[in-house]
Symmetry: C2
Subunit: 408 residues, 2 copies
């Protein structure tokens, strides 16, 4: 008898963003005349950089001629892209990462979802709260948790982000094996200092734990003292796997390209207590379950590292960061405390009331869609996330409307 994976049935049915979409739709149907501005989902709105578009076209042309056509590419990605990532994203910042430690993929979501497969079933997983839901849900699906209770799964250690700790969780108070961290953070926009990140790396080394470091928003860092990669911290190659994406950096959310770094020095333990490198395991995972990223997409991603590409990407992220500054200033001006929006495209607003109530208030009175913090976990209650990913004029209009609604 074919049986299903019952762990899936533990997942809560209401996915945050579908609930938001449902509420927005209901409001629009009741008020078809009202124009809605979406500062909810963190999706980019600006065109791909010109350098990427040119490289993309050139590669499509190659696919159109027998002589230059490309069939199966390397499962781990083309070296032309891996070598630029190694050089510009790591070696240039003093992080000792080699080309063959970089695995190109179709998305940081896929990678941070799939990475748990290479670990044992009975490990203890520590996940921040509030959090991007993929880290939790994939561990639920893999059967590493019990049933949910009050919105939390038994068996997971929640690393609480609060106003008191500035949404940088404290080290766990009990032994954990696998730790998810994300900085600049989604959803809070909080960033981590070199010193604070070192405490996590040291913890992992001392406690034989491993860190999954999600640096998808790295391109929004402006304060040069902040680490772009966990590998800027000494010893991190032994205890950390890092994922990054071209999605938010260069507007690739609809184009799909990302990468994950698994250093050869990074190890886990077998049941005899022996240390084994994780690099061959992730290599095997990728070559067995994946066939590489579309060749023209990899060429488009490579263009991000050209001189023009770098300037264009900087202009792109600068534009979103200007929006972020505007949002933060407006909300501060209305008396709301905020985290984020300085080195990150998300502004995490202490709304001093129930998240969903504040969401409804902004939707129905200002026509602005945000994301209720409670959707990211228990510690998100009382906050909302505002995204800077929109056109300047829409952000200005949204803030003016919010000021009008709440300012009186």
């Amino acid at each position: 008898m074919i049986k299903l994976n019952e762990h899936y049935l533990k997942l809560s049915a209401n996915y945050l963003f579908s609930e938001i979409a449902k509420r927005v739709r209901a409001f629009q149907e009741a008020h078809p005349e009202k124009e809605i501005i979406r500062l909810g989902i963190g999706d980019v709105t600006r065109a791909l950089p010109k350098a990427c578009i040119e490289a993309f076209h050139a590669a499509v042309d190659e696919m159109g001629e027998d002589a230059t056509f490309k069939g199966y590419g390397p499962d781990y990605g083309y070296d032309f892209l891996r070598e630029k990532i190694a050089r510009d994203d790591y070696q240039s910042r003093g992080a000792d990462i080699a080309l063959d430690e970089i695995f190109i993929s179709d998305g940081a979501k896929s990678d941070t979802a799939n990475i748990q497969e290479i670990f044992a079933h009975d490990i203890k997983v520590a996940i921040p709260d509030p959090v991007y839901p993929v880290y939790i849900d994939t561990n639920v699906m893999a059967g590493r948790t019990g049933d949910p209770e009050d919105g939390r799964y038994q068996g997971i250690v929640y690393l609480e982000g609060t106003k008191a700790n500035g949404f940088i969780p404290d080290l766990p108070g009990e032994p954990v094996d696998l730790i998810y961290l994300c900085f600049p953070n989604n959803p809070t926009g909080a960033v981590i200092t070199r010193e604070a990140l070192k405490r996590w790396v040291d913890y992992a080394r001392e406690n034989k734990a491993l860190i999954i470091y999600d640096a998808a928003y790295e391109a929004f860092l402006r304060d040069e003292s902040l680490p772009h990669s966990i590998y800027e911290i000494e010893g991190a190659t032994e205890v950390a796997i890092e994922s990054r994406s071209f999605s938010k950096t260069a507007g690739f959310t609809g184009t799909r390209c990302a990468y994950t770094v698994v250093p050869k020095a990074c190890t886990a333990f077998d049941s005899k207590g022996g240390r084994q490198s994780l690099h061959p395991l992730w290599s095997r995972r990728m070559s067995t379950k994946f066939n590489g990223v579309s060749y023209p997409v990899q060429r488009a991603a490579e263009a991000v590292y050209s001189r023009e590409g770098k300037l264009q990407v900087r202009a792109l992220t600068d534009a979103y960061m200007a929006n972020a500054g505007l949002i933060r200033q407006a909300m501060n001006g209305l008396g709301f405390d905020c985290v984020g929006g300085i080195n990150s495209p998300y502004i995490w607003v202490d709304c001093r009331m129930d998240s969903w109530e504040f969401f409804e208030l902004l939707l129905t009175r200002a026509g602005v869609v945000t994301t209720p913090g409670a959707g990211f976990g228990r510690c998100g209650q009382g906050f909302i996330r505002i995204s800077a990913f929109n056109k300047r004029e829409n952000v200005e209009k949204a803030m003016a409307r919010i000021q009008q609604t709440l300012g009186g």
Copy 2:
């Protein structure tokens, strides 16, 4: 202590195609003057159809302008592509498949690798021998098998393909829950009749089993009496999931687009014996672990269904099928029995000696790379696979060399 997934350590270290590459490299280094023709790996060699290239460029242009830019697409694929698949690949052949039962992905490899996740851990899995290694390896990685012994994993039921049964396995002699089938077959090129496929569907319905049907080579079927989809068989929507790909159909091996059909009627059982639809489980898997296929790639795939696209794809597959005919004829002419090459791009040759010996003979004496059947499983011993994916002139030259080597 972070522990690794030890099931990975059961996987055999030598992956077939890397072993072949190693041997070819060694031969080339010893004989740099000899020209090698590769009829080994099943990778396409001809350019993408013109219709696909045009649509690809047009979509890249859209990504270059704010007004037409596309961010995150639907996790399950764009409706413009799903509706054409539903109409042309299913409904037009009398198979009752709706748009929302189709999930667009980056590859049939990914899908046939990932699909086992939605089933329970303790199911009995039946896998053909010889076989595409992904079905086995992904179940090994998930912990559904014991250790390997003489090249077979404990706990898997092997469905043997032999000369006697024409490489169409018999129904299993013991109860099984999940069955992998692939027709036109990789590696044997064998095809299944409607009657034989009906026996499998009936078996699954009677025994509460489920079939994963890999139809990646469907576009090479020329005999109109053969089923293109398992859903042409009555009742199959209740017991079968089907995967297809644009890789071999339209030359997308380096472009990456495929799809999997999970009919809403298709069910598995929960631990209380209740039937549950698998559609919500696969939907949840895709929305949690995947972010959709690159928009320009989906537009290129859509062009396969245009009038010009269909003609161009037919011309492409016809050219490979002409190669297949040439290979089959040459090998038959030399007295070798063959399966495949008529409704499939693979020719499975009974070499009447050890697979690897024959592989070495063809490599060292004719300079032609093939794939030793033994690499696909115990039942592949004594056979080699020759792929029709190459330029006409290379296939002609390869066959002339083989005739010269073996004909005397």
